[in-house]
Amino acid sequence: MTGLWRRLRYLLPWHRRAEENEMRAELESLACLAAPGELGNLTRAAEEARAAWGWTWLEQLWRDAQYAVRTLGQNRGFTATAVLSLALGIGANTAIFSLIDALMLHWLPVHNPQELVLIQMRDPREPEPADSFSYAIVQALDEEKSIFSSVCGFSGTTFDAGHPGSVSQVQGAWVTGGYYETLGLTPAAGRLLQKGDDRPGAPLAAILSYAYWQRQFAGNPAAIGQPVLLNGVPATVVGVSPRGFKGAEVGDDADITLAVSGVPQVEPSGEPLLGRGNFWLRVLARPRAGASRAETRARLAAAWKQIAARSLNPEWSARQREDLANNVLDIVPGAAGHTFLGDRFREPLMVLMAVAGLVMLIACANVASLLLARATARRREIAVRLAIGAGRARIVRQLLTESTMISTFGAALGIWLAWISSRFLLSTLADGGVPANLDLHPNWHILAFAVGLALANGIVFGLAPAWHTTAVGGAAVLQEGARTTRGHSRLLSSLVCGQVALSLLLLVGAGLFVRTLQNLLNVNPGFRREGVLVVRLDGAREGYRDARLREFYEGLLSRVRRVPGAVSASIVGYTPLSGWLWTEAACAKGEPLPHDDNTIFVAAGPDYFRTMGIPLLAGREFTAADRGDGRVAIVTRAFAERNFAGRNPVGEYVTATVSKPPSDLRIVGVAADSMISTLRDTPGPAVYVSYFQKSSATDSLVIRSAGSLTQTASAIRDALQPSFPNAPITVRPLTAQVEETLVEERLMAKLSGGFGVLGLSLACVGLYGLLAYSVACRTKEIGIRIALGAQRGAVRWLVAKRAMALIAIGIAAGLPAAWLLSRQVQTMLFGLTSTDTGILAGAIAALAVAGLAATYFPARRAAHLDAMTALRHE
């Protein structure tokens, strides 16, 4: 222990100086005592004595580092190119990794998160498992004490918090009573929600997040017991969750958390959520201590049948219930919580990680060829050092120090670049219309990732050149002069070919994703999205119910129609491509209702088709008279073709379960097909029903505006806001809503495009470097050619020929790889196949042009060499 302590103390400069002085004094005193020369070489003795502290390696490393800094400083161009290449590669990878890390790898700040599991339901017929469950199922699971010690469900929401006039939107969560118990949290103040808070009629109790408590109440403990107004309804703050905990839904920070039983009071339109038919809660559970994962899984699978019998909606058909009961309940690790964003972006992020990996490879090839070229140029120096007795290991270590130092600088710069660009990434994610509050601060995961990447690069790509250069006997090199060997130049060429091949892959990928986005943006959705404004309404929050709610909406509609700039307006259950969907079984009257082939339903008001610009093919629009009995419907062309093949459906009847029992709707019109659920598929059969003949949970006004959208929007806001004292209303263009659905595609297009450009530039730098280097090496040869009368053009061609050969070989190698890899992303594409010839041709053309541009300067330099100077060149 004392030995170690003394050794560590030796690292302190003043201690070391004291030791040195003491040693010198001691040796001097001894030299006086002994006969002259009797003690031998005292310097050597002191040197070996210093080794006793065991820091020789550190000292050598320090000296190597100093030497490396000096030599790197002398070759600024080389150093800058290598460091920048690496920084871009490491930055790209670290940025993507930090997103993956934040979404999927961060553990929740809760008690033993590694024990937690997420519950999923696997339908053998579906590829993806479902992870939402009904309130009744969560409660039933919580009763299975032999499997789980506790179970909870949760779902994100937003509250309009505050008094009329100072209302602000706050992110919140609905959770079941076992939430905090399952997570094993202790309150920062007050108490957390318990089972008793999640009973019908329990007083509304709100838990604040630590951050919200600090922001809104300055961390004042007196906040406990205060009422907060949520959607105009008072709830009592009973506690504050611990610092750092932002909810189990990652990316959707919950500032205010309420028990699910409070839904009917706080969010009246959401009352059906408590019913057995609504699957909306994600479920985290903590298995009983000691049970293995396999055991838990087996018990859960066995218990599901019973749970299903108890908790499935009895109104569903027997067959539907049986199908659900035949699904398999499964558990997956839940330490990272649930993340909607993670589910949504998993595939794009994995593809982007692979793409960033390709960029890294190109960058590494750059560094490797730079190091190789440099090592070749330094062969003479190294040979001299070997000749005067330096050990090979010593020289390899010194070269490795240099390459590692380049990597370290590259990593530092790369982490900084990643940190800058991650904000841009986050803003792209947030365009999706869902909250994306992710912590992308560099943490040890990210640092370890970047540093590991850099070190691996430094060692792998530094070792080969170092080994190579020191392998040859010193004398041979000294005689041979500075000429380069064939092996080196072949290795360099293949590195450049590899870079060209990789950038072809990147360019093809970029082309595919950019075109996919373009295709989706240009797709004709069947309605005219330009010039339409959307207003989401929630009259239930303002206290309106049933008939009064309908009257209230009708009043709003007539007011909006009078707003200057509004050409036409209508009301609709949900707007197309909003992420909402209502499906029912429907068929022509007289046929049996299909079981699993549902039709899309939309509740639309008068003038809906005119406002949305959906052409009517036959019959009429809904009018204000379509209310009460005498239910009517407008079907789409696809529905007409499926259910009324060859007939005019107008005047016929559709049978559907719009209300129980199934009723008949008289068809009054046929509308053109338009996209309702997704831009990616051709529109399926759909039925529009009259808005005023159906009760609706979510409602929107749609307004077609003739003039400036912003002016009309603010006029609408002014006209409607007085009716909504409890909540600020938002008016947004329909185009914005449509674009939100394309967030994954936009992310892919932006990033793969960026990576394509990055890869291409790096490859061009590599090509330029190689050509410049080979021209420098062949100065003498080119000088002789020029002296013997070679034309400038011929010399230029000499260089260009080499470049073209390299590009051609690279493309030839890259094409099959591009073909193979792009097939992996076929499902993410739209409107084109992965082997789109136009994109391939474009990528090849881009490569050729960029490659030739990189050739220009070295070729020019070769052609303008002065023969005499070149011949005198060493």
Binding site: N41, A45, A51, A52
Partner: protein, 110 residues
């Protein structure tokens, strides 16, 4: 005569058991006590002293030497005393084991 690995440490500890000595004194003492058979190079001895000092087996202090010059005198610490016992018994075991095999000096070759 070459020294076996690790023997030098033991010799230094043993020499310091009798009295504190400075570096040159230790070299002289070993030479004298072995009747000039062991002539340890100062270049090897000095690093060994530093090593032992770092391990805490010996400690040093500046004192006056016989020739009225200041010199750094090493003495054995309690830990060094214990270490000497360990090394001594190891060495004794080694010698007896080798002695068993070697036996008496054989007669001259045939």
């Amino acid at each position: 005569m070459d020294l076996l690995q690790g023997t030098l440490d033991m010799l230094v500890l043993k020499t310091l058991l009798m009295e504190p000595l400075h570096g040159y004194g230790i070299a002289k003492a070993i030479r004298m006590n072995s009747n000039d058979a062991l002539d340890i190079e100062f270049g090897s001895l000095y690093p060994a002293l530093k090593r032992l000092e770092l391990k805490g087996w010996i400690a040093a202090k500046w004192e006056m030497s016989d020739h009225h010059r200041r010199a750094r005198f090493y003495r054995l610490t309690p830990a060094g005393r214990k270490q000497l016992q360990v090394e001594h018994s190891k060495w004794a075991g080694f010698v007896s084991a080798v002695g068993q095999i070697m036996g008496p000096v054989p007669e001259g070759g045939k």
